[in-house]
Symmetry: C2
Subunit: 475 residues, 2 copies
């Protein structure tokens, strides 16, 4: 089944453009695409006429051209008629917004089965029902929430596929926008009667060049499709991330009524995914950390080779003892280890630290250069740590609160790391006035996070990436 | 030992005001207090003279008045002389900023022992050494980081005591400012040679009326003081929160070099704290969630009685199925339970929901009113849930992205909850344009959080509070 028309249609039509209710989903979709997006869009209303000065057509046959995509935003009862229309007119793709299918029980299940029959027999790529559709910038946006109400993420490398529209616009869009993770295309699959997560995984990993990372929110796999999903995920050259909801006992009950999922042997599948190093974040924070890291690493220019964290041997460098302690406390949780330094290595560090900090600093791991540390101390210690081979990655905790750290610190670290090429992940508190420091690191594609735990999670992500790279090479 | 002069001095003197180095700690402390704070402050420099047009005095004896507090920001070697000076002149309190004591080993240990001897013999409340001192607005601020570099939290009910200055200004100050948690006084205890966490617990719970919540960051208790700490924490009418760093194997190693802590039987103490319902957050996020909740509940005006969550029986109400699923997934982790609704209760709900959403909504727990829900649906369901006695608390997940939710939703919920008096905790994504909704809830002191997990953590906090209240009543 060809999915391209769902994401790259030249022409799109919308059914369900209410003249009375400006907040109806069909009308919002029509209007936002007409005024904001690049696709050529037509509105259908049985009575014709116009809204906001834009002509409406009474039926599909009346349109000046046959659209590549039909968006259906009307009641469940009327929906199937329009899908049959697509078959007759050779419209190859269709998005069904409304609910009233398998998720409401017997009557709806029958309706959904009929929908599937028509779609598969006529090769129509049907997305939904019970979904918010597609966001494929700059071409189209079928999300029925007013654009000014949601927040849009920047353009980037992550394709998003979500079984929940709410999770898509909130956990993904809003948070992506906040921490600047870029999206290529976003898809809400709803009841996934026809187009499912497995077909989308194939599409994005094989046919979409803009995408190099594919993230899923799923409440279970579509039945009989998990093996194929697994095969594709294993073989994909893109990074695949699967975030699961509804795996708890209470959650399983809930998903049944939500998108009519057949939650089944997810725990087994989850174990197999893990074996194949398909990452499954355990929390929203971990999900976002991994995606942020992957999006940064998708840049061609890399300050270091990210695929070198085999065992997770870490050095922690800080100017606050407490931060160092909190950081090493977290290492074990993420399967990472603090290296030990030899007396020789410690002495080498000590010699290079400024005289005020020298004797009060601590050169064990975590290294605490104290509030008397200066820019060059941090730079020098990074240089020494970079030469120690058994250190696979440095976690640097920068606190620009102390007076001896200058606002050049970001640039100095960025240049040092780019020259020494030792993997390094930074923590800097996110405070507006420190954006100068944060940006100088980000411009060199050095991963920067705003909590200690995220920095540790990011190194864990690097470890998984390294292992997956090896696994793919072995094949 | 009287600690009041550390926090409420009328007059303060600073030793170590460098004329050459504008970034030296003593100079920063002197200048910021002179220009920004209300305490009467004098600067000491052996040569006298002036900086920035302000007169400096050559020695303590020369000051126009004997200060209540002396801040010492000079080398470890010279520090003791000034402490002896305090004894001679009857200066009752003193803050020692510099390091070079127990944390650097043998020579420093001796120095610290001598410091303790002088202080205890002469009843001088010595804070530190190796600390950043006291923030007691609007009177004084001895944090040696320039004020424009750190962020200051708003004024409020939480007293902060931290063994790490870095954690104090970052995890506490910066985050408190971000999520608006108010601070009464903040103290960095450093090596806690004399004034320790136990003395401060006593001071804040017995003598400071502004404080009703006391939060600690500790890397272990001072030796032989844990029993007394425990007794005070158990008996305190304030809420006591202890956040521990350095309890992991790697962390224990690190704390030894950091503040010369004698980390010992913390795990046992931690178990005893738990028995007495002294809350120990497991993560930074949980720490902040609890403090935010406690700060809100410190207001006299409360929309509901917070001390009624005995078993943790929860109803989750959402307009996004995915959000509901993610929320119930988290309940077990926080020792909470989703109630089940009877058919009668479900029918009662269904009858009140608008016709568009009625048949596609789900009335199991989590309740999913779908993207077609309107303000009055949410309000009506809250009213029904409030009448169901076995529900102890409602978690409401509001997503104002959908067009049928109005910007009055916050006010409507706030009024409903204040009338029905059922405990309710909200999740709303933190997006600037939704502050209108967020503020209408916050003005009624309804707890609002910006991730699902925080909302669940907050209910967990309510459960602990309820149990602690019972425990205290029993005594």
């Amino acid at each position: 089944m060809n999915l391209e028309n769902l994401f790259k249609p030249k022409t799109m039509a919308v059914v369900g453009v209410s003249k009375k209710n400006p907040l109806s989903p069909g009308r919002i979709i029509f209007i936002k695409n007409f005024f904001e997006m690049e696709v050529n869009v037509y509105g259908i209303h049985p009575d014709g006429g116009e809204i906001e000065g834009i002509k409406l057509y009474t039926k599909l046959e009346e349109l000046p051209e046959i659209p590549n995509l039909l968006v259906i935003a009307i009641s469940a009862e009327e929906t199937l008629g329009y899908v049959r229309n697509c078959a007759e007119l050779n419209i190859p793709a269709c998005i069904i917004i409304g609910g009233g299918f398998a998720e409401i029980g017997s009557e709806g299940i029958k309706r959904q089965e009929e929908l599937e029959r028509i779609a598969f027999e006529n090769e129509i790529a049907v997305l939904g029902p019970n979904c918010i559709g597609v966001y494929s910038p700059p071409l189209l946006d079928t999300i029925f929430m007013p654009t000014e109400r949601i927040t849009r993420p920047p353009k980037g490398t992550v394709a998003l596929i979500s079984q929940s529209g709410g999770v898509l616009v909130d956990q993904f869009f809003h948070k992506f926008n906040e921490i600047k993770i870029g999206v290529s295309t976003a898809v809400s699959i709803g009841n996934r009667a026809v187009v499912d997560e497995t077909m989308l995984l194939e599409y994005f990993s094989k046919y979409d060049k803009e995408t190099s990372n594919i993230a899923f929110y799923l409440e279970g796999f579509k039945s009989n499709r998990s093996k194929e999903f697994l095969r594709l995920a294993r073989e994909s050259e893109d990074n695949v991330i699967t975030y699961f909801g509804g795996l708890s006992e209470q959650g399983i009950k809930a998903t049944k009524s939500h998108t009519a999922s057949l939650s089944g042997n997810e725990k087994i599948i989850s174990a197999v995914l893990k074996q194949n190093l398909i990452f499954q974040p355990r929390s929203e924070l971990e999900l976002l950390t991994h995606l942020k890291l992957l999006d940064i690493l998708s840049h061609k220019r890399k300050p270091f080779d990210p695929n070198t964290i085999v065992n997770g041997q870490i050095a922690v460098l800080s100017i606050s003892g407490g931060h160092g302690v909190l950081c090493v406390d977290l290492l074990k949780k993420y399967n990472l280890f603090g290296v030990e330094f030899s007396e020789k290595e410690k002495n080498e560090m000590k010699k290079l630290v400024n005289p005020v900090a020298r004797n009060i600093a601590s050169y064990d791991n975590p290294i605490d250069l104290t509030g008397s540390a200066r820019d060059e101390d941090i730079e020098n210690i990074i240089h020494i740590l970079s030469k120690i081979e058994r250190i696979e990655c440095i976690i640097l905790l920068i606190l620009p609160y102390t007076p001896s750290i200058s606002f050049q610190i970001g640039r100095r670290i960025a240049d040092r790391v780019s020259l020494d090429k030792k993997p390094l992940v930074c923590f800097i508190p996110y405070i507006q006035k420190y954006s100068l420091i944060i940006e100088s690191l980000e411009l060199s594609n050095i991963p920067v996070f705003h909590s200690i735990e995220e920095a540790v999670q990011a190194v864990h992500a690097l470890k998984i990436l390294t292992r997956r790279k090896k696994l793919i090479k072995l094949k």
